[in-house]
């Protein structure tokens, strides 16, 4: 390469270096994209027996958890009066249209889905009273396409913060079911607890080794108590987990990397064998596998 060519190389190199690049942010958004696009194999639905039941339960848990969330937030679905500034439309669909057990074919469809860019960032404030509010703000951290009672929608996870008199006091993950036509058809589900810290599996191997953990800090909310086996198949972003409980029932879990790094959300849905209740939970795993915040809900099976 001639001196002149070397000079051109140098100039181009300097010009390129003037272009700022944030590889961490790019990694996060790539993970988000991969996670949203990833396909999940759906098990065959047996005409009868536990297979069908499990699938129905999973779908019901998703739906019911969302419905339960509206109660947690202190407003009814469709009640716009309790909602402040929001780019997420207030739910308009009656929760009764998504009754568990009325699935047309008993199949939970989960497949890749992508939101348009305008909906990848959510800014919403839900006020419970003059002092308490829940602020949903940030990028969508997880997406799932689900079909419940014949209606296909998108389950959206958005990070949120509880505030009292404007002071943040807890974080949570919001779940929103976005139905056909990109309208919100069910409310946010959230629950906040104080910061807790206990070890959780940080890798698939660790998960197998650590076979007992539960929501011990909230015994009244503990909806399953048996052994939890996390069998993980990993993607770089979304780590999909299957959770088996000792009583033979099943749940599904999913993990979402958080743009900007620092941890992951993962959501569990499934039945809790020991209480006869359905469990749906969202957990935040911070860096190093420590639980920084958690949310869970227990709701009765139909």
């Amino acid at each position: 390469m001639s001196v002149q060519e070397q000079h051109l190389t140098m100039l181009l190199t300097r010009a390129a270096e003037e272009r700022p690049v944030d590889p961490d942010a790019l990694w996060a958004r790539t993970l988000d994209r991969l996670g949203a696009a990833e396909r999940v194999a759906i098990p065959e639905v047996r005409p009868s027996g536990s297979g069908r039941r499990r699938l129905v339960v999973i779908a019901a848990a998703v739906t019911t958890a969302v419905i339960a969330g509206s109660t947690v937030l202190g407003h009814e679905l469709g009640d716009s009066a309790s909602t402040g500034v929001s780019t997420v439309p207030v739910p308009s669909l009656s929760p009764r249209t998504a009754q568990p057990g009325s699935l047309a074919d008993g199949v939970l469809h989960v497949s890749g889905v992508r939101l348009p860019p305008s909906q990848r960032h959510v800014q919403a404030t839900v006020r419970q009273d003059s002092h308490l509010e829940d602020v949903f703000s940030g990028p969508v951290v997880g997406l799932e396409r689900v079909t419940v009672t014949g209606q296909t929608g998108v389950l959206v996870l958005v990070p949120g913060t509880h505030r009292r008199d404007g002071t943040p006091f807890g974080r949570f993950v919001g779940l929103t079911f976005v139905g056909a036509g990109q309208t919100v058809s069910a409310a946010i589900r959230s629950q906040a607890y104080s910061m807790s810290s206990y070890a959780l599996p940080t890798s698939p191997d660790a998960a197998r080794a650590n076979e007992s953990w539960g929501f011990d800090d909230q015994p009244e909310e503990q909806t399953f108590a048996g052994r939890v086996v996390l069998t993980a198949s990993t993607g770089p972003s979304v780590r999909r987990w299957m959770v088996d409980f000792t009583d033979g029932s099943s749940a599904a879990a999913q993990r979402f990397a958080v743009p900007g790094g620092g941890g992951s959300f993962f959501i569990l849905v499934g039945p809790a064998g020991t209480t006869g209740k359905t469990f749906a939970g969202v957990r935040w795993l911070g860096r190093g596998g420590t639980v920084l915040d958690q949310a869970d809900a227990s709701v009765g099976l139909p």
Binding site: E5, L8, L11, W27, R54, S233, P236, A252
Partner: protein, 170 residues
């Protein structure tokens, strides 16, 4: 009950390593090639690589090729007419390389980048891949999906055009 699509963790580790190694470079490659959203281009390239676990023998070359193609395709969609005009513009006869070295000694970065931006997409690719990425001609050709001789010609003509542009600005 199998609800999980198995995926080899080693493959994902390799993907993460490739990302760390090439992400910044790919964003800047897309930038120099004139992408509107270089990050989006780089992300798309990695996503395509991710969808082909084990099927890509030379990931770097593959990523480069995808970035070049993506920028090219998006530019075509965006400015199809303008691109055609540029490609048909008279005066693209091959010229000898500037011999006096005046072009690059006198040109500052902005002038060079400005000239680069006015090159046709094909010549721009050739110059960037050759002189910024410092790829050998065979890899330039691979990334551009052309023959080596064509790549060499594009590099030469691209340089000549840049020379002419910079001389005109003097």
């Amino acid at each position: 009950m199998e609800t999980i699509r198995p995926r080899d963790a080693a493959v994902d580790d390799e993907f993460a390593a490739l990302f760390r190694q090439h992400a910044t470079r790919l964003v800047r490659l897309a930038y120099l090639l004139g992408a509107d959203d270089p990050e989006d281009v780089a992300q798309e390239a990695f996503c395509r690589l991710y969808d082909r676990p084990g099927a890509v023998e030379q990931p770097r070359a593959y990523l480069d090729r995808v970035v070049v193609n993506l920028v090219r395709d998006r530019a075509r969609r965006r400015h199809r007419r303008d691109a055609a005009i540029l490609l048909m513009r008279p005066g693209l006869t091959p010229a000898s390389e500037p011999s006096d070295g005046a072009m690059l000694r006198l040109a500052d970065r902005r002038a060079v980048v400005g000239a680069l931006e006015r090159l046709s997409p094909r010549f721009r690719e050739a110059v960037v891949l050759r002189y910024w990425a410092e790829l050998p001609y065979a890899e330039v050709a691979s990334a551009m999906n052309v023959r080596v001789g064509t790549a060499k010609s594009a590099v030469s003509r691209g340089l000549a055009q840049m020379h002419r542009m910079l001389e005109e600005e003097r």
